[in-house]
């Protein structure tokens, strides 16, 4: 059982964080990127060509983290690989020590650095979640062929309370739970009212007994970064108040203001019933993550069982 799973079962408020994407063939530099997060997060997400930009694979980064004694959460997108390759990576990841996976669709190639590439999308994220569960609980591939040793992992997914159709999103979470999702990390939360409505609706549908929800929190480093998020990252709702707050301070103070802003979001989501943790994200501002965790009173993190 993964350390993250153990904490969630114990009812602890967990902290996960996304490690910086790496474009290096040097394993030491990849691990160095994750070192900032050691002790500040219970598990660290290794992204899978996020935003359709190529980086070191989630599988490789996850293994390096395992060897460094940091628990990874391996992200898997449906954009780049078909159902054969995704199952191979699920099994391979498990063999390499990955105990948490998060399944998602993935931004289209047109948004990324290789827009000329052929997008795959052989299966969707709900299929991938179900397939992960089939491998783990039935001990077979999707095709029904048996595995000689089934993988063990905590199956995660993502959900975006902030993108239309908003009133369908809680039900879609229900579909993902039905498929096998055990925890979710939400898209970046700036709009607390939307988050509250989403969580309340999930509660009404009885979903919160069956899934742990980790609220996605972004730490902006500049007003320009906040505007970039609003204008170029699909599905993220960045209210005007956030942009105005970042713009209200001079550029040299914006990194600090971003940390203060993220802290306010963390404090607010912790009050929302049913939120079991936070998932911290930044762009080129990784050192802010341990600072936010500490200032939120969430240190020290429980040490993993030996």
């Amino acid at each position: 059982m993964s350390h993250l799973h153990r904490l969630l079962l114990a009812g602890e408020f967990v902290v996960t964080a996304e490690m910086q994407t790496s474009d290096s063939a040097d394993p030491a530099s990849i691990v160095r990127d994750a070192e900032t997060l050691r002790g500040a997060a219970d598990a660290v997400n290794c992204t899978d060509n996020s935003a359709a930009h190529t980086h070191v694979s989630a599988l490789a980064a996850s293994r390096l983290l395992v060897e460094a004694g940091i628990e990874p959460v391996m992200q898997l997108v449906c954009r780049d690989r078909n159902r054969l390759a995704l199952q191979a990576d699920l099994l391979g990841g498990a063999a390499l020590g990955v105990r948490n996976v998060v399944c998602m669709t993935g931004d289209d190639v047109s948004a990324g650095d290789h827009p000329e590439a052929k997008p795959i999308y052989d299966i969707d994220s709900v299929h991938l979640i179900r397939i992960a569960r089939i491998m783990r609980d039935e001990g077979v591939y999707l095709s029904g062929r048996p595995l000689s040793e089934p993988p063990t992992f905590l199956i995660g997914a993502v959900e975006n309370p902030f993108a239309p159709p908003r009133d369908f999103r809680p039900r879609r979470l229900g579909t993902k739970i039905e498929a096998g999702a055990e925890f979710i990390q939400t898209q970046i939360c700036f709009n607390l009212e939307t988050m509250r409505i989403f969580m309340a609706r999930c509660g009404e549908l009885g979903l919160l007994d069956d899934v742990w929800v980790l609220a996605g929190v972004f730490i902006p480093s500049s007003a320009r970064g906040a505007r970039y998020l609003r204008d170029h990252v699909p599905g993220v709702d960045v209210p005007d108040s956030v942009i105005e707050r970042m713009e209200s301070v001079p550029p040299e103070r914006q990194r600090e203001e971003g940390i203060a802003l993220a802290l306010d979001v963390v404090d607010a989501v912790r009050q929302i019933p049913g939120v079991s943790g936070i998932h911290l994200m930044t762009i080129n501002h990784e050192e802010a993550i341990p600072r936010v965790v500490e200032a939120a009173g969430l240190l020290p993190r429980s040490a993993p069982a030996p």
């Binding site: 449906c78 052989d122 299929h127 029904g144 993108a163 879609r172 579909t175 096998g180």
Partner: protein, 143 residues
């Protein structure tokens, strides 16, 4: 004004239709393409999407929407177009039937059925043949 169209259907791998299949397919194609911009996947789930073809989605999602829907409800890949699944949700709310089907876990696409007759596949049950592993999981969930 032409409707924005992105067609990401894969090429057909099934052998070309022969005999009565040819006129059947022609009628089906003409009807469904006209009415619903059908992409001839051969495993129709229109009843669960408010009669909105999910293969019009650039990511071919059978359990959509993705998380990238723009704030105005448009598609992140083709911003001129409404998100297919926003449409599907809204239209499914207007149908008196099959209202909870949009929440079902739809099985993975069998790409071999591309350009075959979904009407025929419905009658023969071919569109409900799922991989063994999938069926096992569904049986366990139903218990």
């Amino acid at each position: 004004m032409t409707r924005p169209r992105l067609d990401r259907r894969p090429p057909a791998s099934a052998p070309p239709a022969t005999g009565f299949h040819r006129p059947l397919l022609a009628v089906e194609r003409w009807t469904k393409e006209t009415l619903w911009d059908c992409r001839m996947c051969g495993q129709c789930i229109l009843h669960s999407t408010g009669l909105t073809c999910p293969m019009r989605c650039p990511k071919n999602l059978r359990n959509g929407p993705c998380g990238g829907t723009l704030q105005d409800g448009h598609c992140e890949v083709v911003p001129e177009m409404m998100c297919v699944w926003v449409e599907a949700w809204e239209r499914s709310r207007r149908l008196p039937l099959w209202r909870e089907h949009i929440e079902h876990v739809e099985p993975p696409t069998d790409w071999r059925l591309q350009e075959t007759s979904s009407w025929e596949n419905l009658l023969t049950g071919r569109d409900r043949v799922d991989p063994d592993g999938w069926t096992r999981a569904e049986r366990r969930a139903a218990r």
